[in-house]
Symmetry: C2
């Protein structure tokens, strides 16, 4: 089944201990779409400027991503630049030029409106709600958010979350949103805000999924080299959403097989790990579904007891 993905399409400048790239394709929507495309058809909603390169459009198209909702407007594409710490657990933002993204007002092409799955990447919560409202009746709505919106748009975010089946955020954001330091308690508080399922990403330490009183935890994949962690969380979202849509999993209040959800978390972890192996989206230029399934089996092996 197909997934509509909304978020930023951008150019990034990134410096890590392994090197420096002045300008390369990036943005949450880009990473989510590329990652999810290995599992299910993806339709993106985003905005780029007239500087957006044909080769970048081509990369997305080569993965079968539907670009009907990628608006092109006069001006420059969103640009972000950052530098990572030596252990890559921290990063400093050097430049954030919103450019055409500043007035992004996502509009869904008619052909998108009856898609079964909707994933709202990290944009202003009211815009996320507006996108949701344009959909006919998605079976599953999930999304991401960030510290900025939790701090400056908390009420809009809480309104928006009410309509979601799942929220996918990192541990620091889960703590900030819930006011609870303990992640089990944090998940419970967030579940009361609307989403029946909460997925918490912990970077190199892995991820957790909470649904009702049940939960699943997986450690992170042990890469020997992390070249560039940019986009890893979005690639996790892509793998997670992609697997849900591939399997046609419904997150309604009824009973579902929790192991299927756990497998979605594993595929998310797999995609996040591949993302880190090269700069930017480079790993997706050669990655195959066979490699993805191979790494899924590696997860089986190194967690088995």
């Amino acid at each position: 089944m197909s997934i509509v993905v909304v978020g930023s399409v951008a150019y990034d400048g990134v410096e890590t201990p392994h090197g420096k790239v002045e300008r390369m394709l990036g943005g949450s929507c880009t990473y989510i779409a590329l990652s999810a495309s290995y599992f299910s058809p993806v339709k993106i909603v985003g905005v780029v400027g007239d500087d957006f390169a044909q080769e970048d459009t081509d990369l997305l198209a080569s993965r079968g991503v539907d670009l009907a909702g990628l608006e092109r407007t006069p001006g420059k594409t969103f640009f972000w630049k950052g530098v990572y710490s030596a252990d890559m657990n921290d990063r400093e933002t050097l430049v954030t030029d919103l450019n055409v993204f500043e007035h992004f007002d996502p509009k869904l092409p008619d052909a998108y409106k009856d898609a079964e799955y909707l994933f709202l990447g990290n944009i202003q919560p009211t815009l996320q709600r507006n996108v949701r409202a344009q959909m006919t009746k998605p079976r599953i709505t999930g999304g991401d958010t960030m510290n900025l919106w939790i701090n400056i748009a908390r009420e809009e975010l809480l309104q928006t979350l009410k309509g979601w089946d799942f929220l996918l955020i990192n541990d620091g954001e889960a703590r900030l949103l819930s006011g609870e330091n303990n992640l089990r308690k944090a998940a419970r508080v967030i579940q009361e805000m609307g989403p029946n399922t909460v997925v918490i990403k912990r970077g190199e330490y892995g991820a957790m999924l909470f649904r009702g009183d049940d939960y699943f935890i997986v450690p992170g994949y042990l890469l020997e080299e992390v070249f560039d962690p940019t986009g890893a969380g979005d690639c996790f979202a892509g793998g997670f959403n992609g697997y849900l849509a591939q399997q046609g999993i419904d997150l309604g209040q009824g009973h579902i097989d929790r192991r299927e959800l756990s497998r979605a978390v594993i595929y998310g972890s797999v995609m996040g790990s591949f993302c880190c192996e090269r700069f930017g989206v480079d790993r997706f230029r050669t990655l195959t579904r066979a490699e993805i399934d191979g790494r899924f089996q590696e997860f089986k092996k190194f967690t088995d007891f």
Copy 2:
């Protein structure tokens, strides 16, 4: 099969966000022994002063711990006092009074010398080697160390490690000892120092085991409340060693079932998690083997996919 455990027997003063205890039973040997006692017979080697309370001897004896190697000398028992940060991921040492521990020169009772398993808790590396030399021929020798010895007694430590089958340390120590930030690489460097098996503890994030090119990773148990993390790493060591000895697992260079080693890591994790539920050793006053096996099954459930 029985395990000889060497380390500190101490009194601790601990302050956490949940409360404060001025003086209670502690020390690495104490925690390791109490934890391992749920799996296998334990014989301890340590030293206490003449202030060591009968009730503390009684607690160890009630768990069947052999106290023939617990030397009692004039003076005071080792005292440590510390305070934990709000999230309990950091602690500050306020007092370290070595007292009778300063001149600890471990001597094994004859009845200990033919034990099959030896675990050298965190003491000066040369003392660890002296203990090993007193044993007839243990099937498995494992041990722990700390930043202090890695920094001030590196050569002695490297000599000592040559005789070990496994090293069990935390992630920061593994990085310091190996000079590698990446834990997979760190484990490989440490394996070349002697131990064929390396277990790395990651606190709330769980643990990893490396043996040859194979490895196992488990996330940490998600406690709702951590009352006091003091001793959790030692309780991990107790569960890990205890299970190895219970199953009679040999860590020689030949083939062994890696899943058995993984189960030892799970039992280590289980024991570490119980330790945090009360102040000091209090959880071990009531803990049962059935509770331990119940939590082992919980690990199965929340990691299954």
